[in-house]
Symmetry: D2
Subunit: 155 residues, 4 copies
């Protein structure tokens, strides 16, 4: 599975009077992570829009686990977690640099035409998103054909 990692620093204007990054800001961070992942996959969102595919968010869920504080650096992990012909789901984690989880969540995006009406996702886009979702080959149990005795997982 392809995981996109985005490092960002909490802006002063993103905090609220509680001294935390406001809970709406995480959706902007997810978005920056998600669109960074799509850029890495060769499908920048700005190009998709020019080609007539909009991907509005139709569902979002967030759990806030620890506050993100002003000037703190955090890492946003984004990955594709489901793809159908008309929707794609991304999952996210926000972590402090020491690994403390700050938030986790997901968004579901619907494929639409330039007129905002639902349309099937272009086949190549769906294929690229699916490839990003697929995991690495499973860890192999036992010796494989052509593999030297002892195997690659041996000490």
């Amino acid at each position: 599975m392809t995981v996109h990692r985005l490092r960002l620093r909490v802006r002063y204007g993103e905090t609220d009077q509680m001294g935390y990054a406001h809970h709406s800001v995480h959706l902007l961070w997810f978005e920056e992570g998600r669109t960074g992942l799509m850029r890495d996959l060769g499908r920048p969102y700005s190009v998709l829009e020019r080609q007539g595919t909009l991907l509005p968010v139709v569902e979002a869920g967030l759990r806030y686990l620890a506050p993100a504080l002003y000037e703190e650096e955090v890492e946003v992990e984004s990955r594709v977690s489901d793809v159908t012909g008309v929707r794609v789901r991304f999952d996210y984690r926000v972590l402090r640099l020491d690994g403390t989880p700050v938030a986790e969540g997901h968004t579901v995006l619907a494929s639409c035409g330039a007129d905002g009406r639902p349309k099937r996702m272009p086949a190549d886009l769906a294929a690229v998103l699916r490839s990003a979702m697929e995991g690495p080959p499973p860890v192999v149990q036992g010796r494989q054909p052509g593999e030297p005795p002892g195997g690659r997982n041996s000490p």
Copy 2:
């Protein structure tokens, strides 16, 4: 059940290049509705904070059903849907003025002290939130003692 209704107009700066109110903005609308409800209940959030009770959002969920467009007026309905000693859940609906649903969602807030650590909600706050959650008396089946024949719902 107490339902708070907030009328607001989509700001230009709340739109994105898709021409829709950006999906993070709904959390600000929910927040304005929720804090309006608490003000109506005699527990303004600004006073709670001065008294040492913070209510950070620990969970949020949103479904986007129709775009909200610039300059359009929408109504945000907010209600309390669950209260425990340490948490309160609010449910929301955003509607166009013709009743078309724009979004629905919920947030869960955790009771914390001024130091940001969890603490039980003040008893009177919990009581007020519970009273806002309680529904009207259930619709009564059958004739009640002292009720005239034909029942109260008869023409």
Copy 3:
């Protein structure tokens, strides 16, 4: 001169960790005031855009005089202060309800076509904006027909 008055309440998410409405938010308030004024003038910005006139902001200036605090209500005064064939300037004041000035500022907007390139403002739009800028009839010197001796400005 037409003055548009907009009452609004500082949102929690608009504050920063200093406990003040963040200084970028005032531009959103100015914008909501300005577009409210244009709507009152019969020229809603959403209609202008559909007719092919964009009015991007090309200059802004702000002085912050007192903090606006969470849950506080403020009033935004907006007025047209200059109109040329290609630009319009708006001046703003933000006041607490007791009259304390919170901020004052201005923005200059440039008339552009749908392609984002400068174009002269539609004549009727410029005329409407000019009419909004014109002051009330000047204070009249001397006694007017039908006015009682002593005049309305006499002590």
Copy 4:
């Protein structure tokens, strides 16, 4: 003069329906640049606040020269341009990576105590800001004492 350069990418949520980064966002970019400069100077804003010095923005000015578009990378240049005992002014430029100017502006910040009331800036903070403002030694005309014939700028 110390110039802080910050590279950032326009977020989708920062655009408005005109397809440009909304004009309020530049103040957030200025802020991220300014606080980055202060961090580079060894005076992170988060530490200043904990030590009881707030620096609220009391004045801002912006000129928007070209739109910043979604997914585009821009560079924010920040520099200190004036320091008095109670105020500091920063000047900014936002540039596309090809050097096209996107915006320029300034902000003035006032030194305040934790209670939000004006107080003189800590002497070491003012000194550091002044050092950041001072230019490099002027380009020298003519041969200097002890400088070899041909001068340091000769080919």
